[in-house]
């Protein structure tokens, strides 16, 4: 019951938390390398992760704790529409398979650590590099804050009050990330993912068995949505279909533009490591689909909550013995640590390479880079913690939503350059600005909803703002590049020696 401390659950929780803390500090010696002497070591784990380590690491930081809380919460609240995460995390893999090995080769050959490094090398433009770096930093901050929300929800569900447990957990995380770098989340991801797989597989077998099978689960959810009315239901309403498809496609384009997912890509040993992961990572998508169904199971179990984010913890408390609940909550909390660590490392790499090195100290040594990045990773985490403690939670949610839209606008600069040398930095920068400007303004004026509406022939169509902004971005980049190229070829024609 709320307010009462669940001792069994709490003990199990603390046991696993302590286990990963020890692992986090010991990780500095794993696949040993001079962690503090080179950013490749601290920030990319030595660029040596093979197929299985990468699978756990990318799976662990792409499918975050917040996902486990928020996806079922959305499905619980609105039904089918919340499932867009499923097509999104399927179609992302053909994209990863086709593009990321090419990006890896480019980065590996030149020793790039961040997306902005790759962009700078392709276009030799400090302005475009800075645009990509700042976008990455700003998009990542609220994402880290969201991981804290995931942790906060389970800590609260165990009956702990106050902010101390959250602060303590985060300080521990900050310290071992500082000392071990990317090796810490990579090692902890093994524990985290194994625990999550156990929890979800048990839940999807045991819960329907207790509630009368999947048929009963779906029909209970259907009854709940019929009673609730509005844009909810087991199927999409006709005007939700375009929104569903564009959210899935746009999110898939955005997913691997984030610093934390790219860190996983750059830390791999080879291009084939990434290709094999594109084949193997969908296993997590299956898991995500099953996690999403917990939103319906909660209806079947008659769980009523004030905030949809409490759906998953409340369902575990209602249906499972205390020890398993503690295990599940530990899985979710540790599930928050891995992405939070990788995100802060990705952000620290960006700041170090593309702000500090480019503008403050161009002659920085490799060891200097590592120590700047370590300190920045601490600052980033303290910032995220302050965000959650002092600002309304809704701000983090809104900013994360805008973050997806923003990070997607770095795609043309990062990806097009891998295939063609036609684009110019000026054009890409203008496209980036147009996408971010139009997208933010549209989302803002719709009350921070991710959907924009277009009226064609009397019918209105709602679609994902981010994807619209990306199309605008590309169109502007193409037109502006064409103009810049024409002008520069005229100039060079005029000044060419005869």
């Amino acid at each position: 019951m709320p307010g009462q401390i669940e001792w069994t659950a709490l003990s199990i929780f603390i046991f696993f938390f302590a286990l990963v803390t020890v692992m986090g500090f010991l990780a500095a010696r794993w696949k040993s390398g001079p962690v503090s002497e080179h950013l490749d070591e601290w920030g990319l784990g030595g660029r040596q992760f093979g197929t299985w380590v990468t699978w756990f690491l990318v799976g662990g930081d792409f499918y975050t704790a917040y996902t486990i809380i928020a996806v079922p919460a959305l499905v619980y609240a609105v039904g089918a529409y919340g499932f867009f995460a499923l097509p999104y995390t399927i179609i992302v893999y053909p994209f990863v398979f086709a593009v990321m090995p090419v990006l890896w080769k480019r980065a590996h050959a030149a020793g790039h650590v961040t997306s902005a490094d790759v962009v700078h090398a392709a276009y030799r433009s400090r302005a475009l590099e800075l645009a990509v770096a700042i976008t990455g930093l700003i998009a990542t901050m609220p994402y880290i804050a969201l991981q804290l929300i995931g942790m906060e929800v389970v800590i609260k569900a165990m009956g702990l009050r106050g902010e101390f447990p959250l602060i303590a957990a985060f300080v521990i995380l900050a310290l071992y990330t500082y000392s071990s770098g990317l090796r810490a989340p990579a090692l902890i991801a093994f524990v985290k993912d194994t625990m999550i797989y156990i929890v979800v597989l048990v839940a999807v077998v045991v819960v329907p068995a207790k509630l009368g099978g999947y048929g009963a689960v779906f029909s209970a959810a259907n009854d709940a949505f019929t009673a609730k009315g509005g844009n909810t239901g087991l199927l999409l309403k006709p005007d939700q279909m375009l929104a569903y498809a564009t959210l899935a496609l746009g999110s898939a384009f955005a997913a691997f533009m984030y610093p934390h997912t790219l860190t996983g890509v750059f830390a791999s040993k080879s291009a084939n490591t990434i290709r094999r992961n594109a084949i193997l990572l969908p296993a997590y998508t299956l898991l995500l689909g099953l996690i999403a169904l917990m939103g319906y199971m909660a209806h079947a179990a008659n769980i009523k909550v004030e905030s949809p984010n409490d759906v998953v913890p409340m369902m575990f408390k209602a249906l499972f013995p205390s020890w398993f609940t503690g295990f599940a909550f530990a899985a979710i909390a540790i599930g928050a640590l891995v992405p939070a660590a990788v995100m802060s490392i990705g952000a620290a790499n960006l700041f170090t390479r593309n702000v500090w090195k480019s503008y403050v100290n161009p002659d920085i040594t490799h060891a200097g880079e590592a120590s700047v990045a370590k300190i920045v990773s601490l600052i980033v985490k303290v910032g995220a913690l302050a965000f959650i403690l002092f600002l309304p939670t809704q701000y983090a949610l809104d900013l994360q939503l805008l973050g997806g839209l923003w990070i997607m606008q770095t795609l043309p600069a990062l990806v097009f350059g891998l295939y063609t040398r036609w684009f110019r930095a000026e054009g890409l920068l203008l496209g980036w600005a147009a996408g971010i400007g139009w997208g933010s303004w549209t989302a803002w004026s719709n009350g921070l909803k991710p959907l924009a509406t277009l009226t064609l022939g009397g019918e209105s169509h709602s679609f994902y703002v981010g994807l619209g902004a990306l199309l605008l971005n590309i169109a502007v980049a193409v037109i502006a590049t064409a103009i810049v190229r024409t002008i520069s070829s005229e100039k060079s024609g005029a000044t060419a020696p005869s």
């Binding site: 399927i90 053909p94 199927l235 899935a248 291009a271 084949i279 969908p282 299956l286």
Partner: protein, 59 residues
């Protein structure tokens, strides 16, 4: 071969194609099991493309 990678996009983004309750499978409405089924299918398609790739790099 690369064209195989477009199939998941077509199969999942054309929503009117699968926005139905029937036929159900193990209690799952079509909408749900159809999308879940695309997970292994996508893995398989990517693997088929992967298998045909020429070896292109040092380890």
């Amino acid at each position: 071969m690369w064209i195989l990678l477009l199939l998941p996009f077509i199969g999942l983004l054309w929503v009117p194609f699968y926005n139905f309750m029937e036929p159900t499978l193990f209690g799952f409405p079509f909408f749900y099991w159809y999308q879940l089924a695309w997970v292994p299918v996508t893995s398989l398609l990517i693997w088929l493309v992967y298998r045909r790739l020429p070896p292109d790099e040092a380890p």
